[in-house]
Amino acid sequence: MLIIGELINTSRKAVREAVETQNAEYIRQLAKAQIDAGANYLDVNCGTMIFNELEMMEWLVNTVQEAVEAPLCIDSPNPLAIEKGLSLVKHGQPLINSITAEVERYQQILPLVQKYRAKIVALCMDDTGIPETAEKRMRVVKKLYQSLTEAGIQEEDIYFDPLVTPVSTGDRAGVEVLETLALISKEYPKVHKVCGLSNVSFGLPNRKVLNQLFLVQTMTMGMDSYILDPLDRVMMGFVHGSQALLGLDPYCGNYLSVHRQGLYQS
């Protein structure tokens, strides 16, 4: 299981303010707290700083790396910001968020994956948008799988994101994701699967409960990475518990370890 801590994102008000006031201490603490809570990677996204994103990316990546030695997930719709972030990464193999099968995006991002030998989040969308069904998503998966592996990217470095859309606007939105996961696991057993969870509950009450349930459901279908808030103890409790129940945690060692650390104490 790979947990990508999502909190260092300037679309969150506190982070935006910290970036604007160059409050390095806040960012360092947020980085450290996420790693302490079990994150393996830290997402760094300052896409909302549209007029000085590169500068802010540089400051964030440097600041985060003052606090932790974790690898980073460099996240931006802007390829220049991604390259800026990648060029500064010091620890481990970086992860790029994200490439798609959109022609322009693909051509912009692929060279960065190759140059920095990065892991890559591959979104199941192309120039026609997000496909509605699992079958149509699989066409995009196949296309991306073929072109990425032909370009020399290792299967183990590809993280397919089936793209989670709200069940409030389409009854089958959740189940299409689950079916996509099953198909990816069957056809491409070596690649990884990743997603964020919160989109699924948009427009509905009790969003936390739905997000937690969707974590369990997607894990059952083979999801092995998430972009989430690792400080959410209930969610992290479900991650570790599900792994034990799914036979992914030898002798329940990890589950018992987080239990002893007090994760399940309210």
Binding site: S11, G47, S76, M125, G129, P166, T169, L204, P205
Partner: protein
Amino acid sequence: MSDFDSLAQIVISGDFGGAKTLTQKMIDNGVDPLEIINQGLMAGMNVVGVRFKAGDMYVPEVMMSARAMSTGIELVKPLIADKDMPSAGKVLIGTVKGDLHDIGKKLVVMMMESAGFEIIDLGVDIDPATFVKGVKEHKPQVIGMSALLTTTMLSMKDTVEALKKEGLRDTVKIIIGGAPITQGFADQIGADGYAPDAATATELCRRLIA
């Protein structure tokens, strides 16, 4: 309860079968089709809008209500001359160039249609020239632009500039929305308004057109 109140209630509860039956019954009884819309279907949808905004109704319920309303509208529409069809205004809407996200935009379209606006939905990946062409062709009172990506939101500014260049800027109000959009950004690019959600966007349109 009057038939109008019952019809409004049926729309609120999202009962599209019931909306069809009662609308037909009212037509057969000779009720004025315009009143069926204004005092029945639209009255119900107005309540839905208020409840949604207040957090008492949720997206799937609003979708059912909208569908119930349009089931009724389809029956009465042929009985009303086009020029008499009540309209809150005409809105041209699209997701901007380079951006393929349409869930948010679809919700806005649904809420606005339900509030009686005539919507021309250009779709996704709409460049400034296509917005300009749409304004010339459809003469809307409002343009709504949506963007989910921080890289594509800048295209909103290009559309504003393109409209200025064509001398059309003062003929329309421009509203924008989407995850990365803020009121500050709207002010910066010279848009007339920003809305954080579909219900607010609908209110914003009403206010701008009034």
